[in-house]
Amino acid sequence: MKLLALLMVFTFLLSACGGGSDTNNSNVTNEDNNTSSPSPPADTNTDNQTGDDAQTPDAGNNEDENPDAGAVGTAPIVDVRAPGSIVRKGTTIVIESAITGGDEQLTYLWEQIAGPTAVIENHQSPSLTVTLPETHSSTQDDFVFALTVTNREGLSTYTETTIESINAMTQKQAATLLHQGTLGPTHAEIQAATGKSEEEWINAQFASETTYHMPFLENYPNKEQPNHINRIDAWWKASLSAPDQLRQRVAFALSQIFVVSDANSALRGEPEGMTNYYDMLLKNAFGNFRTLLESVTLSPVMGVYLSHLGNEKANLDKNIRPDENYAREVMQLFTIGLDELNLDGTVKLDDNGNTIPTYSQLEIGGFAKVFTGWTFAYSARWNRPSKNYTLPMHPFEDYHSNLEKHLLNGEVIPADTGAEASMKLALDNLFMHPNVAPFISKQLIQRLVKSNPTPAYVERVATIFNDNGQGDRGDLTAVVKAILLDEEARKYSVVLEHTGKIKEPILTKLHFWRTLNAASQANRYYTWNLSTTFGQGPLLSPSVFNFFRPDHRPSELLDSNLVAPELQIATDSNMISTTNSHYSDLVWRMAERKSTLNPNTIYMYGEAHISLLENAGLEALLDHYDVVYFAGIMSDETRSALTDLDSYFVNRTPADRISQLLYMISLSPEFNYQN
């Protein structure tokens, strides 16, 4: 019997690998046959019994192959019923069996034969009670349970059932995911995600309708056109309320790779164009990278920002050469970077140990020619452009270089190729370069999850970038999913020292605003001086090189191998003005501390926090803060510091107390670190 059981388990494990949905495998065997012929039952199982809901023991088959067994009688007919609906990790389920025909003097024996160890009870009864393990990895668990029913004649029916349990995120796990995948999660959003699997939450976010920012772009009162500040206002409104938070977060990340800015350019006068650019990022955030790249390239806002709009072919008489600005930055910053990379994002070295440049002046010249002849859509003439800042640029062939154009990897666009065709060939050429996957994947990981991903993490995501599993390259949905579901992001088993990143300062403000229902009675979010207060703001980079570089290593980390890009803007003045801004939000503009409200001022509403403090006490409030602001990593030291802080204010109003607590949270290192 021992030998037989071993063989059977081995076979079922093999067949379970291919199984998808709940599967029962049944086999009948005879207690007497264990010595005579151990192998036939094993063959039977692999041949016939995978993948269906078979419940009928195939006695005939057994008889064919083991005629001796058939002579003794009929084995019990067993039907095993696993729970029908989604099974979650950490729950207790009952697997029931039903016997067709006589059920007297049957003995039952349940065993778990595959999967993480579950706690089983009543393993000698018709119904097995199973308590599944808690969530411990980002993927589903697959279990196989076997039931052997033996009748008084000693005839047995062996049935297997497969149970898949999907993740049920704890509140803390949900909070961790939502810190990575939203613009700062609210308690309600965390609660809604708790109990779901990561994949369910991500898929629901993918399916969620896009919240575009353009509908939020309103004019300043009594003005005929929107102003720069109205663009910022629209960004706040959409970011605060959008249900498609993951898309908003990814678009914000993309806005720091495909940088345009009206911080110090003529684009300051084009809030519609700028908002439309952000909407283009939102639209493509879950699309294909190649489409995104073309949308970026043909955006008139980008065309103005990197000056390929209006760029003309060479005129050697006048010593005019095509503008190289976009040619250079589309390679250096938007697609491949300066040095050849391995799939895992590390730099390739030549035989002498030197890095290998990805392009030279030859290719820059080639791409510069590609991006000639483009101007605003619906321009009647090249020299009288329409100034339409929202539609993609259109080409004028007369101003497009018809010379041959050198691309990467020795590819050449032949002479006399038109503007549109040249652009598409050039972007295809960039898109197919092996650097794109690691270059973009690593930066997205850094914006969403952590500053110092291991090369293996980058490689896993870059592999998905190159092929989403269906043969498609550049599927950003698959990339975002791979980033968020990766073990290094979910941290179920891997314990790495450097698990996260410093939060972007503007996102810490947004997080408080989202959780405290920031609002003005006039429904205006006019925030001036974001750049000088936080060192950043939406589409407000000081240059195309973004607020900080992905490889920035602050002086504190010089003797480590770590980077912390966000600390590049953590200058003394930015840090002080950021904390001052938090103070004025959380203390001075806490609505419940005011007797009258100014209609134009943005106030925080601490109602929910106040009632929690009043009804459940300080510890309950700190538990709440631990989840919402710390994703569950609030240390005992921080908790006791907050408790001691409150002891001074304990006789003040509850609004005063939560204000002081929230302010202290806003500057605490644990809050500012996204784990």
Binding site: S307, S555, A564, T571, N580
Partner: protein, 452 residues
């Protein structure tokens, strides 16, 4: 080198003194560094350097232009619609073929130039070794990495060396070598963090343009302020075993104490009669002047300041943007120098410019592209003024210095520009060669930037 670079100088020294590292294992360079540190003499005077970084790559070959002869003809043929007319003739101590014309929007620099407080450095750029066109084409000498790329070339100027794994800025290295890095007031930036001021043991204090910065929760009444501050101090301890989180904590903690100290100092700053314009650069330099006015109350004998002006990446509309930028630069420089005169610091403070690169002689219609060689400004009472040090490049497309598209090979390396500045700041010539690893490939002290 790894050992030395990987640790702070102090840690390294203490390691040596404790016998943790064998002296025999040290390279000669390290030994020299060691002995320099141990022998460094106390400084007796006060000096400050102010770096103005012109972000984007200034078309500085259009700041100083030839006014006559074949150089003028070549210039006009090359530059076409971007030619600068009405340049102001400068009378230079050195004679240059074709003369020296200053961009007309910089007229308010002429009196500084004529009085000897301003000079230019001509034909300078990043180089590893002297390079001819043939060398460039045959790859016979090493060429700086990532020429024509903004952030890389900015970094190369500010690091004063090619990219290495643990890179530091030459401003910070000077402070550390002179043992002047311990006070945060020695290293002040008005333009955020930057490579020039980032060293092993020092990084810039980012001063707000307004000077005094209130810290809201610490501006209330007692004993609340003390209580709140004590809680802050507890939270900002660096014991999380998480270096990134600790880096944030120590940053904020340091920012708070620096801002408080700076506030105390700035409250004593005298009111200057010099008026500064409200352009971005003038405002930064006004804050520098204010900091300089209280420099005698700090312990710093050497200070470095960093300010910046952006917008020089004139791919388009150069004919309108460049005059505005040059005008801003000239206005801010002259205001700053007059404030220094008022403070009687004109001989102790030297101001100089850096920029990513020069720009192409060819145009792309209404702008220029990333080039290589360019011209720089240096200003101060100690400066050997009324001259162009270096060369007035012949601006000829396809000429003997053109590597393509009107990108000219620098005839002086930027390290030849930095070396006299570092020497003036108090470093020995031996120190300077160590500070700039490629300086030894050139005659490092050939440019007479300072009065001897």
């Amino acid at each position: 080198m790894t050992t030395y670079n990987g640790k702070s100088r102090r840690a390294f020294l203490s390691l040596c003194l404790k016998g943790g590292a064998s002296v025999a294992a040290l390279t000669s360079l390290q030994l020299q560094a060691l002995s320099n540190t141990l022998n460094s003499e106390p400084l007796s005077d006060y000096k400050a350097l102010v770096c103005i970084f012109l972000h984007g790559g200034s078309d500085s070959l259009n700041m100083l232009v030839p006014t006559s002869g074949q150089h003028r003809t070549n210039y006009e043929q090359s530059r076409q619609n971007l030619v600068v007319n009405d340049a102001i003739n400068l009378t230079t101590k050195t004679q240059f073929e074709g003369g020296v014309g200053l961009h007309p929007s910089m007229g308010n620099l002429t009196s500084l130039f004529d009085s000897g407080q301003l000079a230019f450095v001509g034909g300078v750029g990043t180089l590893i070794a002297p390079t001819t066109l043939a060398d460039y084409k045959n790859k016979a000498v090493s060429i700086p990495s990532h020429l024509f790329s903004h952030n890389d070339q900015q970094a190369t100027w500010m690091h004063g060396q090619e990219k290495v794994s643990l890179n530091t800025g030459w401003g910070a290295r000077m402070l550390e070598r002179l043992n002047q890095h311990s006070a945060f007031t020695s290293n002040i930036s008005l333009a955020g963090s930057n490579p020039w001021q980032s060293g092993i043991q020092t990084s810039p204090y980012a001063l707000s343009r307004n000077g005094v910065m209130k810290i809201n929760p610490l501006s209330g009444y007692q004993p609340q302020v003390d209580h709140v501050k004590s809680i802050m101090d507890r939270l900002l301890q660096t014991n999380s075993n998480n270096p990134i989180q600790d880096a944030y904590a120590s940053r904020l903690s340091r920012s708070i104490s620096n801002v408080q100290s700076m506030n105390t100092l700035l409250e004593q700053a005298p009111e200057l009669t010099t008026q500064f314009s409200d352009n971005n650069l003038s405002q930064q330099l006004a804050a520098v002047a204010k900091s300089l006015s209280i420099s005698n109350q700090t312990t710093s004998q050497r200070q470095i300041f960093f300010v910046s002006l952006g917008g020089f990446d004139t791919h388009d509309e150069q004919l309108t943007t460049q005059p505005a930028l040059f005008s801003t630069l000239a206005t801010a420089l002259s205001e700053f120098q007059s404030a220094l005169n008022e403070l009687a610091l004109q001989n102790s403070v030297t101001t100089f410019t850096m920029s990513d690169f020069g720009r192409t002689l060819t145009s792309n219609g209404d702008g220029t592209d990333h080039g290589w060689a360019g011209n720089q400004l240096i200003m101060g009472g100690a400066v050997n003024g009324s001259d162009v040090h270096g060369i007035m490049l012949d601006q000829q497309v396809g000429g003997p210095l053109d590597v393509g598209g009107g990108r000219l090979i620098p005839q002086f390396s930027n390290e030849q520009y930095f070396a006299p500045i570092a020497k003036w700041f108090g470093l020995s010539e031996a120190d300077v060669y160590e500070l700039f690893p490629n300086a030894g490939n050139f005659d490092a002290f050939t440019l007479p930037l300072f009065n001897s």
